[in-house]
Symmetry: C2
Subunit: 432 residues, 2 copies
């Protein structure tokens, strides 16, 4: 074994960073044996240097992250500060100064992965980011490496723990959205400003990363259709239950049937209770991958949290250090297929639509005509008069598979019907 240690610079020392530093210390012997050389924490860049950080030599702490990555003796930079800047500049600067990079930064990778990959390649360095998607669940490595000889056709999963916790509470405790959000916040599953999670931004970033890797093409954040869970109601969950379904926020990346384009989207959807994703509870994550030869694979585990994320970071750290000793690099960007990303309108899916309609004869015929005019075939209709006797009835329509554009065109036309008082909810149905 080499005795001269590999030097690691840690950018950020919050929940994940402090756990990375702790494991690097407590498991130093194991890491050295697995890498073939010891690793040494050479510097830790933080914003608040005065904060007490147990187990970290105060002499390593600096507020000057730029100077740290420019030192020239750093072998690997671990970036766990998040956000676009200064993370992007620090990472590209790290490559320029000879370091490889392990990052957990999904926002940056989704926003501008191409710049990072290009900088890594230009300087012959590694960019690894298992921790950016689904915490400790090995997903990036299986997609990049295990399935490198296969053709992935679909990735479908729960990749945001906060929203899964909220929907799970709404389902099992019958809670309303804001009540469930309050509980998630109280338990630390949701941040003070939950926008990134509940509006689907976090899941969309992960969908962009997964789609890019799965289909060997570039998928940007703008290519991902995004809907959050803020509009999901207790009534939607109840409707789902009546159909033998539950509601999950899904990230779905698909290759079109003709193989010439791909799509990526994040939205709440009903899935059958018999689907394995339906039983993913609380803040857990799970991802299905469908590949031509492998068939259907599922990966399940904790999708966030300091320790799980640190596990993913350290796995990458070991790989990157081994590559460094081998004077080799792991897989870089693979975007050779250059498949275009189709808009949401071209996605083929199913709708579950709840309508408030006038309680009089002929309404169903009118509604059915609108569906037919848009080429959307109806699977089931459930019609019932309201209890309050105000002359309104509820109509629940579940469609067969159709292009999303035809479905949303149908809904638009339904809204214009005099006999349709309102569209109570629209939800896609997946996983069948």
């Amino acid at each position: 074994m080499r005795t001269r240690p590999l030097k690691v610079a840690l950018l950020g020392c919050g929940v994940v960073g402090s756990e990375v530093a702790r494991i690097m210390t407590t498991h130093a012997g194991d890491l050295a044996a697995r890498i073939g050389a010891p690793v040494e924490l050479a510097g830790v860049a933080v914003r608040r240097p005065s904060k007490v950080r147990e187990g970290i030599d105060p002499a390593l702490i600096t507020t000057d992250a730029t100077a740290l990555v420019k030192r020239g003796d750093i072998d690997v930079v671990v970036e766990v500060i998040g956000g676009i800047e200064p993370a992007r500049t620090l990472i590209t600067t790290a490559f320029e100064h000879g370091a490889s990079v392990v990052s957990a930064n999904k926002a940056l990778l989704a926003e501008d992965g191409a710049t990072l990959y290009a900088a890594a390649e230009r300087h012959g360095r590694d960019l690894y980011f298992e921790a950016a998607v689904a915490g400790a669940i090995p997903l990036i490595r299986p997609l990049r490496e295990s399935l490198a000889g296969d053709k992935v056709n679909r990735v479908l999963g729960i990749v945001n723990g906060t929203t899964n916790f909220i929907l799970d509470r709404m389902d099992t405790a019958g809670a309303g959205y804001s009540e469930a959000l309050d509980e998630a916040t109280a338990l630390g599953y949701a941040e003070a400003d939950p926008t990134a999670d509940v509006e689907g931004f976090d899941a969309a970033a992960k969908a962009a990363i997964l789609a890019g890797i799965a289909f060997h093409t570039r998928v940007g954040l703008d290519d991902v259709h995004r809907e959050g869970i803020t509009e999901v109601t207790s009534a939607d969950l109840a409707s789902a239950k009546r159909m033998g379904c539950t509601v999950k926020l899904l990230a779905i990346c698909e290759r079109a049937a003709d193989g010439r384009s791909v799509t990526a989207r994040v939205h709440p959807a009903m899935i059958p209770l018999s689907h394995p994703l339906a039983s993913v509870r609380e803040a857990y994550n799970a991802v299905f991958v469908e590949a031509e030869a492998a068939g259907q694979l599922m990966f399940y585990g904790p999708g966030a949290g300091g320790s799980p994320t640190a596990s993913a970071v350290l796995g990458d750290l070991v790989a990157v250090c081994r590559n460094k000793l081998n004077e080799a690099t792991g897989p870089g960007e693979s975007a050779y297929t250059q498949l275009p990303v189709s808009p949401m309108g071209e996605v083929v899916t199913r709708y579950h639509i709840s309508l408030d309609v006038a309680d009089k004869p002929g309404v169903l015929a009118q509604v059915a005509t609108v569906f037919a005019e848009h080429g959307v075939s109806i699977d089931t209709v459930r019609q019932k008069g309201r209890q309050d006797g105000n002359g309104e009835a509820a109509l629940v329509v579940v469609t067969h598979r159709a292009p999303d554009a035809a479905l949303s065109g149908t809904v638009e036309a339904l809204r214009k019907l005099d006999t349709v008082r309102g569209v109570a909810s629209i939800m896609r149905v997946e996983g069948e």
Copy 2:
């Protein structure tokens, strides 16, 4: 991209080998793009050269596998013939002649992995074998690489599809063992001689491989406690159901609580219906991995079959080819912990025991005394008189956790009691 192709020799052209050859042809462009150089099938060693092999140039077919691996221009040897010899000699010869090896041979890796690893290392070549355990499910790579910065404490899973199919049929259709085995054979899930599967040899080989990688120590086939499913009865399944459980053949690799030893075992066990492994149906495989930082991860998918296994082989082929171009090697054997493997007697587990006892007062007290004398604490007892009024009763005892030696000592002593007419079944209870 390099234009000179990497040359691949295929040893074996059965269900898996022919699928590997097919995908290498149909997906040649994708493989080249992902590797950075084209790959070329340079020779195929078979036993029956006269068999028509669609899509394979007859000029590539040879019966002389040794000459093929000795050619000197082969970059990667793909070994899918199985068994110990000639596979072992062919693989070591391949390394001697400069090739890296991708193998799906669980029996050989479990029996003599150390020899293969040593030969690979001596010649600076790669030995990859994702396909040896759980087909297409990425498991070796996540354990070797994704979790390389973590500490794995437990691997628990269903790693044999044939036995899972049989137990699933016994559970859902109420079939007896031999009836379910017949169905498995008819559907192609069981081989004509099902011994390797139903006696647990196949699962034990996988357990040895998984334990070795998970704990960074050498675990041989002899270190694995092995029990098959041939003794499992419909009554066991019914008993399990009454307890809210089902029966699965589990491979379990554990680090002892004090961290100083490990165990590996394969046996049927009752697991609660609420455990995710309980819902793994038909011939599917699923493996739980518990690691210190990552927490509990699950990997699920098809555990066998030509296409899924070929997917795993090709993923390894891409990795090995990339390493070759990089003039680097991937992870080799990691056995630095040298942890001893403890015998089954030291495993801490729970027993579910069905006894046929004399239907008279004082029997339960006698039985309970035997448990107490062996230091085994009883969790629940269910006692009932038989319908046939022959003076016998049934006693079902579920214990708390205790060393397996204490549990089997208890059973031995119970057998000697006059009032115990027979031990109808003993099964371990796991996953709680």
